[in-house]
């Protein structure tokens, strides 16, 4: 904890109100708070370093069996765990541990999925792996990254549970092909995918004080961060599946009710922004707004036949939003009084 006047004031007020169970003085340490863009930079660097380490180990040791690769991956994950455990304040060890953890995860996934032919099994295994990493890694950044990848893996797991396929379809399935399964079925898939995640995000955001009062805070905090980032960007990976962001393979399908899905993705990004606002997290708020704009681009590029329809939808939506915004502002002014 950082020795700042605000902290002393807070503790004094809590003590006055008789809310402190423990009265031991707070151990003050240096302020090691990392702004979001520093975390982003170290996270991306850690990811690339991890992949390079994995390639290096693969080329140097040339493991020739899945068992060898698995053991190697497990060792890397164990090394990462030890580093995170050893010293939670040392940035160097954090970065090295993140790189080792990424390399270890990739190696374990590679070993487990070497012979897998079912996309459901592939996505489900990655989901389980991310859950395990989330549970065991004693580091907030590592847990947030694992939560984000777990969300993405969850999206694909549900998708391939409903639409089993081969690994090739993971990369080459076209939106148009997915769309042929029918709108109702697509909507069911969307609800199954995102419903639980949205409910979970609502629960974690509104019940923050409950889980903050227990040891669950160590899991819930990074889970909420990863979940909100996943909700903001996850619509890109959501059913109906599109290649990468709004891939060229998917461009040009006719305007129909499927246009609802990118709009729902925008709504999810806005919801993530709202939750970020509730958590006073400016970085996450900015990211969610950026994600909403990317979804808007997807909406523009994906449906190629009737731009007039798009114009009508966006204009009606715009008028409705401005109207709602004015109403909410009037309500806020009324509640504030003269």
């Amino acid at each position: 904890m950082i020795d700042r006047p605000e902290v002393g004031e807070l503790i004094a007020t809590l003590r006055e109100r008789g809310l402190l169970k423990s009265d031991t003085p707070l151990p003050f340490t240096g302020d090691n708070h990392r702004p979001w863009f520093v975390s982003l930079m170290t996270g991306v660097a850690g990811w690339f370093a991890g992949l390079l380490l994995l390639f290096f180990i693969g080329l140097t040791l040339k493991p020739d069996s899945s068992v060898m690769i698995f053991i190697l991956g497990a060792m890397l994950l164990f090394a990462a765990w030890v580093m995170y455990r050893m010293d939670r304040e040392t940035v160097f060890l954090d970065q090295l541990a993140l790189a080792l953890s990424i390399a270890g995860q990739c190696a374990v996934a590679w070993a487990l999925l070497d012979d897998a032919r079912s996309t459901f099994v592939i996505a489900g295994t990655v989901l389980l792996l991310q859950i395990v990493v989330f549970a065991i890694m004693p580091n907030r950044a590592a847990r947030s990254i694992a939560a984000l990848f777990a969300v993405i893996a969850w999206v694909y797991t549900i998708h391939f549970l409903l639409h089993p396929g081969s690994p090739e379809s993971l990369f080459w399935q076209r939106e148009g092909e997915a769309a042929r399964t029918g709108f109702a079925w697509s909507l069911v898939g969307w609800l199954l995918t995102w419903g639980p995640l949205l409910a979970f995000a609502v629960y974690l955001t509104t019940r923050e004080s409950v889980w903050m009062a227990t040891a669950r805070r160590n899991l819930a905090r990074p889970l909420l961060s990863g979940l909100l980032i996943g909700l903001a960007i996850g619509g890109m990976a959501a059913y109906p599946l599109t290649w990468a962001v709004f891939g060229t393979e998917a461009i040009g399908i006719g305007m129909n009710w499927y246009a609802l899905f990118p709009l729902l993705a925008i709504a999810m990004a806005v919801f993530a922004a709202y939750c970020a606002f509730q958590l006073r997290n400016l970085g996450l708020l900015g990211f969610a707004v950026f994600a909403a704009l990317v979804h808007l681009s997807k909406f523009y590029f994906l449906y190629g036949t009737s731009l007039t329809w798009k114009a009508v939808i966006m204009s009606c939506l715009g008028v409705a939003m401005v109207g709602a915004g004015l109403l909410v502002r009037a309500k806020a002014a009324k509640e504030a009084g003269p």
Binding site: P5, E6, V7, E9, L10, I11, T13, L14, R17, L19, L20, K21, S22, L26, H33, R34, P35, F37, V38, M41, T42, A45, G46, G50, L52, L53, F56, V91, F92, D94, Q95, E208, S209, M212, A213, A215, R217, Y274, F277, Q278, R280, L282, S306, L307, T308, A311, V312, M314, S315, L317, G318, V319, A320, V322, A324, G325, V328, R329, A332, E335
Partner: protein, 330 residues
């Protein structure tokens, strides 16, 4: 909307004093870590209004892009011009800083771009696409200046940087403006450094003048664009086969040092320094790979270690700076 303490600090407090949920509720309220009903309503109202205006703007752009054949040329122009006039009238009736005036001028800025696009589409002027964006940047500037709003400023910078990307990044080698650079036979890395320089100079100007309509988040956008181009130029200079591209790298280093020392001197925001460090990491990794020629697997290990070391040192320096600067401002 900044709380007194961040979530990590609040978690530590809750853990150390074993607070019950009621205690955590009080803690969050005292630390202003949860927005009240009024703040939430204000936030919702603002998001809905800004989102609504942007949605309307997107609707106009989509409409023009539709090349609606059912409408005559005159009708298409008349429609957009009516929207433009309506925006200007709305801004005159409720001038900025009123919300309506600002929103109307933002819409006018977007409509200006749509009007130029429609003009090019209808009369097939043969103009390169960067010329459309360049004209939009210039013609839309009065609306942005009058709006005095961060969202309009950000929109203008996005259009400006799209122009720079199309002009400097994609080398269109056509159009009237290309005559400026086309005849000089400049290497692409130098041209990209030109785009970087434009943004760096704008960033310096707005840092020094501190204009309210170009707040910190917009200046961050500008400096991100600057070093986006800078990093691109650096990578081209390293991997390209042009002679004399080292000069572009030198220019990049000068830009990085200038921004680094000025931001350190200002002691206001560590973001520009983080961007400079990010550029350094990416360009240095590219340089390392190029110099070692990816000869063997050892390069992978060295690059991984270099990434870990540089990102660690950067994070340490940035966190220390943020701590010191926050301490000074407290």
């Amino acid at each position: 909307m900044q709380a007194k303490l961040n979530r990590t600090e609040l978690d530590e407090l809750a853990e150390h004093y074993a607070l019950e949920p009621e205690g955590v509720d009080v803690l969050l309220d005292l630390a202003q870590a949860r927005p009240g009903r009024r703040a939430t309503l204000d936030f919702l109202a603002r998001v809905l209004r800004i989102g609504g205006v942007l949605s309307l703007a997107a609707g106009i752009v989509f409409f023009v892009a539709a090349n609606w054949s059912a409408m005559a040329v005159f009708g298409r122009f008349a429609l957009l011009e009516l929207v433009l006039v309506a925006c200007v009238v709305a801004a005159l009736i409720k001038p900025p800083p009123s919300g309506l005036g600002r929103a109307a001028l933002l819409l006018a800025f977007v409509t200006t771009g749509a009007l130029f696009a429609l003009f090019g589409q209808t009369y097939q002027t043969g103009a390169d696409i960067y010329e459309l964006f360049f004209t939009w940047t210039l013609a839309g500037l009065p609306f942005v200046l009058l709006a005095r709003w961060s969202v309009s400023s950000a929109a203008w910078f996005v259009v400006l940087n799209t122009t720079l990307m199309l002009y400097c990044g994609l080398n269109p080698t056509g159009g009237l403006l290309w005559l400026v650079l086309g005849a000089s036979h400049l290497e692409p890395a130098y041209i990209l450094m030109g785009a970087c320089a434009v943004n760096v100079l704008l960033w310096f100007a707005f840092e020094i003048r501190e204009i309210p309509s170009v707040p910190q988040w917009v200046r961050r956008l500008v400096i991100s664009c600057a070093f986006g181009f800078g990093t691109w130029a650096g990578i081209i200079a390293i991997f390209g086969d042009e002679k004399g591209a080292a000069g572009a790298l030198l220019l990049l280093v000068v830009a990085m040092l200038a921004v680094f020392f000025y931001a350190r001197h200002r002691r206001a925001d560590i973001y520009p320094i983080a961007v400079v460090m990010g550029t350094f990491i990416i360009v240095s990794v590219a340089l390392l790979g190029d110099q070692m020629n990816f000869a063997d697997e050892g390069v992978l290990l060295i690059t991984a270690i270099w990434l870990i070391v540089t990102s660690t040192v950067s994070a340490r320096v940035l966190v220390a700076m943020a701590r010191d600067w926050r301490g000074e401002s407290a």
